[in-house]
Amino acid sequence: MRRRRTSGIVRPSGPGAVMLRGLLFAVLALFCLYYLVPLFVMVATSLKSLEEIRAGSFLSLPREITFDAWGKAWNAACVGVRCDGLEPYVWNSVLMTVPAVAISTILGALNGYALTKWRFPGADIIFALILFGAFIPFQVILLPMARTLGQLGLAGSVPGLILVHTVYGLAFTTLFFRNFFIGVSDGILQAAKVDGAGFFGIFFGIVLPMSLPAIVVTVIWQFTQIWNDFLFGVAFTVGDSNPVTVALNNVVNTSTGVKEYNVDMAAAIIAGLPTLLVYVVAGAYFVRGLSAGAVKG
């Protein structure tokens, strides 16, 4: 985000202004706490033993740090009747997310490029119709999708989820690339066309290399969306092919036996870590994706 060069509205002058400034920082700090406390609770609880959780308060630091809960969440916690931890489901999520992100990004780039740089009659209407697909409540396609996956022989499988995420991610990736390409000047492309470069020549030779920022934004957005998806995972997969979000929910809501809050929290961290890491490393791009979600780039 662009910073203002001129000073802000609250100008520090006199004791009143200094107090105001102090209040400002106090409120900002308070909200930092508000957003951070759940993260702290999650990490602290995951490092405690069950006895300590029962004896102490959920806000206290662990007295003795133990990684037992992490180990259990990774390879021994019960997801339904199977007690292998989250590990197999993390791999399901990886196997689902990587191809779905790659395919939907490439197709979105092609789509956005064709719709903005090779304008043909009806391009705007086609774009509007595709874009609407990004905003529908997916409940309205759950039933026919389940049947279609069954007929394709993909019911309850990771490839089935790849197909679903690619199809419904396409609307968003097209939107991202369209917004990016609209800002790219037509001059270079016209020159290349005059030189005899074709549709794909220009795409691979000129457009793709310069759209790296758009690619990063799209990949991060798609990765976060698909990794975090729950609805498609729970509706279209069973047991062994569940993505990690569904498995996490099953771990937490397994009603048999003692409630192991430390394992629940470790499992939540494992499920949340990949997207959190991406956010920490590439936060600026993530924010750009969020604001592109408001349609305009």
């Binding site: 910073r3 203002r4 060069r5 001129t6 000073s7 802000g8 509205i9 400002l24 900002l28 909200f31 930092c32 957003y35 759940p38 993260l39 999650m42 308060s57 959920f58 092609l110 064709a114 719709l115 090779w118 086609i126 119709l129 595709i130 609407f132 697909g133 905003f135 529908i136 409540p137 409940q139 309205v140 396609i141 759950l142 039933l143 026919p144 199809v167 419904y168 396409l170 609307a171 975090n228 729950f230 609805l231 729970v234 996490l248 937490v252 809501n253 809050y261 629940d264 929290m265 939540a268 499920a271 997207t275 991406v278 956010y279 936060g283 993530f286 969020l290 604001s291 408001a294 305009k296």
Partner: protein, 299 residues
């Protein structure tokens, strides 16, 4: 010779139509998987479908059944309570934090990162954490009792009258940073000259914001409300992870209602009817918005 000419013209023809050739299959995918599926669901909502889909037309009977189901009214009431509180509180926090962050804060980048990180998490993760914080046995309730308030009760999570508010608490935590980011971007786009002129005229910060800046941000208000409303109507994961729709079906929302009727109770007709109701609600909000947004960027 003729063959070569033919091939050349064929090549040129293909080359000229390549953009259309590339877009068409992708557009066809969208037509099939979005509009075809919507049509299928809409048709099923007009049939007798129960456990299995049947294709004999049955008029609006499923909609009559839907609107005669008490659980549907619970879901609608919850959606209303949830979205008004969720949108209202998220907007209030978002505006407040955006204005505060706009005051030349040196560590703004770091603070912004902290405010926004919950957006990167899955709603299932958020729900799991808040379920633990809000659980009456070991969470906030016990913390307060240990602090000396022996009779403190905070059992919203398992209380049918209040459970929906726990969903609001967790959802606001996750999404208010998003509202902040949208408003901050809006504030940054306000012309500095206007602010300077107002300051020269002696307008204090309160007047500058309430009288000049916020009215200028009307489009940002609109898009933030729409984005949050869209999130609210689709909210499914958080309810499932936090309350499972319970106690009973006290925290059901249209999204969980549809899922329960489709996949657990196998009443496809009612499920399809509720899905169509959801689609109509979302469309009523999103279509005018997309229309006005796209008209602006069209060249």
């Amino acid at each position: 010779m003729q063959r070569a000419v033919f091939l050349k013209s064929l090549r040129q023809g293909v080359e000229r139509r390549l953009p259309l050739i590339v877009v068409s299959p992708l557009f066809a995918l969208s037509l099939f998987f979005v509009y075809g599926f919507i049509a299928w669901t809409a048709y099923i909502s007009l049939t007798k479908s129960g456990v299995m889909p049947v294709y004999t037309f049955d008029g609006l009977a499923q909609y009559e059944r839907l609107w005669a189901t008490p659980r549907w009214y619970v879901a609608l009431k919850n959606l209303f309570i949830f979205s008004s509180l969720f949108i209202g509180i998220s907007m209030a926090i978002g505006i407040l934090l955006a204005i505060l962050l706009d005051q030349r804060i040196r560590i703004e980048g770091m603070i912004r990162t902290i405010y926004l990180y919950p957006m990167a998490l899955s709603f299932i993760v958020t729900g799991t954490v808040w379920k633990w914080i809000l659980n009456p046995g070991l969470g906030i309730e016990r913390l307060m009792r240990q602090a000396g308030f022996e009779n403190f009760t905070f059992d919203w999570l398992v209380n049918s009258d209040f459970a929906i508010y726990t969903v609001v608490i967790a959802a606001v935590w996750q999404s208010s940073g998003y509202a902040m980011a949208l408003f901050l971007a809006g504030l940054r786009s306000v012309d500095d000259e206007i602010l300077k002129a107002a300051a020269i005229d002696g307008a204090g910060p309160w007047l500058v914001y309430s009288g000049i800046v916020l009215p200028m941000l009307r489009p940002v208000f609109l898009s933030t409300v729409i984005i949050l409303a869209h999130l609210a109507i689709k909210s499914f994961d958080l309810v499932v992870a936090l309350t499972g729709g319970g106690p009973g079906y006290a925290t059901d929302m249209p999204a969980t209602f549809m899922y329960a009727f489709a996949f657990q109770r196998s009443e496809l007709g009612v499920a399809a009817a509720s899905a169509v109701m959801m689609l109509m609600t979302v469309s009523a909000i999103i279509v005018p918005y997309l229309y006005s947004e796209l008209r602006g960027t069209r060249k």
